[in-house]
Amino acid sequence: MDNANDFRPIRVFFSKKGDAIYISHLDLTRCMQRCIKRSGIPIWYTQGFHPHQYMTFALPLALGYESECESMDIRLTEEMDLSVVMELLNAALPRDIRVLRVTQPKMDPKEIAFAEYEAEVSFACDSQGEKFLALLEQDQILVSKRTKKGPKDVDLKPLLELLSWEEREGALHLSLRLPAGSTLNLNPTLLFDAFCRAYQCETAQWKVRRTRVLTANFTEFC
């Protein structure tokens, strides 16, 4: 009776914007637990000595990023209309986190392979547009990625897909696709780091928004 599989899994898609982008993943987990508690949704608790709400996130979001395609999975102990779940959650959540839809999970989070981002960045240097193009023309774009085993060099060149870019109002506006998921996850800010390293400058300001989470054949995670 206490087996997780006996309870109905649901997937909650939500956006994270405004002040909420400064909530780290760990803090988001705690925030969600409290909101679910407040909402009164019949969530399933893990069994054992310290029962806690069962909750997993498909693809944790980096601190400072906006997103309109976050998702978390929870399980319900009682039947409840999914539109009611959405309503209750939205009433309990802080204003900058909004539930967009609640669904039956169709895919396994392991299927996630890519994510797409809109980024806006300006660097403290001259002619950043030309420099940016020159950076992309290099044979290699080496960046240092932090991993559990320490920093690791990764070549962004073959992994990065620049979907579009333009320079306006002093900032580069980029649309990017990068590997995502549990095997290799690369954030757009790595590209900014590469720029800074190549041209010895700092970012003046940046904004990143995750827009889509995709599987290996580019279908949207659902």
């Binding site: 405004g18 002040d19 909420a20 400064y22 909530i23 780290s24 760990l26 803090d27 988001l28 705690r30 925030c31 637990q33 409290r34 909101c35 679910i36 508690k37 407040r38 608790y45 029962p51 601190l63 400072g64 309990a92 959540l93 802080p94 204003r95 900058d96 003046a204 300001q205 940046w206 904004k207």
Partner: protein, 615 residues
């Protein structure tokens, strides 16, 4: 402001501290609000968001549609630097408006080492730090909290101090301000009127004169201001306002849980404890009220832990019915109860069982002193037998970690008393291994945490000299050498900060200059070891020809006028003198429930307090 902030937030540690937008934070329309109040906590967000008083007053002010209370905390140094670079003044989290836009700026003074942070926050907001330099165009600056019981070292910076409990007098103060604002009353006249509200102390209406040796000769009031100034007090605690909602922080704070205040004051009268005297008399809430408060808060916040807070929660008369009634819903709703401030002498097996039902963690007890003689001198009415009995109950209940709190540098303390701390811990370890039914397969761990005693105003020890740094260090070494077991861990605190705390706690107005000097020479967030700049303080004392030992290490005569003698916190000076004499004779005083000792605080209630037999 929002755009400016975006530029810097990703450059600082834990940006979630500076954004606001948390659950239950209150946003109002600026044009529909008559009075804007900035509640400032002069420490970091994590510390300030753990403070219950701020939560109560925040909700209370915001209950009024036309008043808006917002929160402000001290930025860490990385944020301060970024704010300086981008010319962002200190702002309130809700509206992100600079503090200069507010009507009233209120600080809570929880500990003496926050004084420079108050100055720094005023400065970051673009305000001159001294009251005398702020004309009518600047907000009114007020301060309350426990350190307001001797506000003299901050007298030059704060327009008005709110003494005692704020629920009623802060609202009266804001109401009067509202009226003054409508009528265009000048600040000076407003402050004169405000000084008539119970618990409002306007330092600029009082003159202090000194003898040549630096002691106070006389304090006089001007313009009809009251003398003494009596603290504000809530008569019926059971009916006092309690918030139904707390702001729920996104980031992890020191105490991130629901908290319900169960009682105010303390019956115990431990002679070192300022809180035990300045919050007198003892008043309790009924268990139904507390239970309802807890349910409301858990419902509105989603917290899964609720703490029953007070100076001594096990002294709550209705503790057993309270726990029984809370356990009817808390287990079901997966809410755990925590009871800080338990006493070792009334910690029953039943109580332990009820707590253990929900969660098992370490236990903390505070014998405060190692020897019985010294425990009697400080009136910590706890015997070694009780300590051992409680530890036995805990061990038999499955606990293996026990934390014991002690103080060092207590009046009349000898090296034997210091060694007795280690002996007590050793006997707790021995007790564990003597129990046939001790938790199996696990060793015991006894942590002794030793704080340096700082004599505080309104306590029987207000007359006592504080140990010098050299004496404290010697005692620390002595304690370490007396600990023989690896099962005992010793923690102790830095003694330089204790000495400074001692100077500020019993300081007078002459210290205003030193505080400003220290702040101008880099002091800020002094309670954080990594920020503490003792040398700047020492330079400040030297610059103004002040000997810190005059404040910290000097014994005062009973008839010396203390810097806080013109403030009335209920307990009489005669009572404090009687208690001081008994301390030197190692004689104890019964707690308020056993019998009234005539402290005088019942006068504030206009009748008897705890047991109906007050003198």
């Amino acid at each position: 402001m929002q755009n400016q902030l975006q530029k810097i937030l990703m450059k600082v540690q834990k940006p979630g501290r500076y954004t606001g937008g948390e659950l239950n934070s209150v946003i109002k329309a600026k044009d529909k609000v008559d009075v804007r109040f900035a509640f400032c906590f002069p420490d970091t967000y994590e510390v300030g968001m753990s403070h219950l008083g701020m939560k109560i007053l925040y909700s209370l002010i915001n209950e009024r549609e036309n008043y808006w209370c917002e929160r402000v905390f001290a930025p860490e140094l990385d944020m301060e630097e970024q704010m300086f670079l981008h010319k962002i003044p200190l702002y309130a989290l809700e509206s992100k408006d600079p503090l200069g836009d507010f009507d009233i700026i209120g600080f809570t003074l929880q500990y003496e080492l926050c004084f420079t942070t108050v100055l720094n926050m005023l400065h970051m907001a673009g305000l001159p730090v001294r009251s005398a330099d702020r004309d009518d165009s600047f907000p009114i600056v007020v301060a309350g909290g426990p350190c307001a019981c001797n506000p003299e070292p901050m007298a030059a910076f704060i327009d008005a101090f709110l003494l005692g409990e704020g629920e009623e007098n802060l609202m009266a103060f804001i109401d009067l301000y509202h009226e003054a604002k409508r009528n265009g009353t000048p600040k000076r006249e407003f402050l004169r009127q405000a000084s008539r509200i119970q618990g409002v102390y306007v330092p600029s209406l009082y003159d202090v004169s000194y003898y040549e040796d630096g002691a106070i000769k006389e304090v006089t009031a001007r313009e009809g201001a009251p003398l003494p100034v009596e603290k504000a007090i809530i008569q019926e605690l059971d009916k006092v306002y309690y918030p139904k909602e707390f702001v729920v922080p996104f980031i992890d704070t020191v105490h991130d849980r629901a908290m319900v205040e169960v009682l105010r004051g303390c019956i115990r009268g431990c002679r070192f404890c300022q809180a035990g005297f300045i919050y007198r008399p003892f008043r309790e809430k009924h268990y139904e009220t507390i239970d309802q408060n807890a349910r409301d808060l858990c419902g509105s916040t989603g917290y899964e832990e609720v703490s029953l807070t007070s100076l001594s929660t096990s002294d709550l008369t209705e503790i057993e019915p309270l726990l029984s009634s809370m356990l009817t819903w808390s287990e079901e709703e997966k809410v755990s109860l925590s009871l800080p401030s338990l006493r070792v002498d009334n910690f029953s097996k039943e109580l332990l069982d009820k707590i253990a039902k929900v969660r098992k963690s370490g236990l903390t007890f505070a014998p405060e002193a190692g020897s019985q003689r010294l425990r009697d001198a400080i009136n910590k009415n706890v015997t070694e037998e009780q300590i051992m009995k409680t530890c036995r109950t805990a061990f038999e209940g499955g606990y293996t970690n026990v934390k014991l709190y002690f103080m060092m540098g207590l009046p009349t303390e000898t090296m034997e008393d210091v060694a007795a701390i280690a002996d007590t811990a050793q006997r707790v370890v021995d007790l564990f291994y003597s129990l046939p039914n001790r938790p199996k397969g696990r060793g015991v761990n006894v942590t002794i945490s030793v704080a340096c005693f700082v004599p505080k105003p309104f306590t029987p020890f207000q007359f006592e000299p504080q140990d010098t740094v050299e004496m404290l260090r010697e005692k620390q070494r002595h304690l370490i050498s007396a600990v023989k077991s690896k099962k005992i861990t010793v923690h102790y605190h830095e003694s330089d900060t204790s000495v400074l705390e001692g100077v500020l706690a019993r300081g007078d107005r002459k210290l205003c200059d030193v505080i400003e000097y220290a702040w101008r020479h880099g002091c800020n967030l002094d309670s954080w070891d990594e920020h503490f700049l003792y040398q700047s303080w020492l330079d400040g004392f030297a610059a103004y020809g002040i000997d810190p030992a005059f404040y910290a290490n000097r014994r005062r005569d009973y008839n010396e006028i203390m810097p806080w003698d013109h403030l009335d916190y209920g307990v009489s000076k005669n009572f404090l003198i009687r208690e001081n004499k008994k301390a030197h004779e190692a004689r104890t005083t019964p707690n308020c429930k056993e019998g009234c000792s005539g402290c005088g605080a019942n006068r504030l209630m206009g009748g008897p307090c705890v047991n109906g037999q007050c003198k």
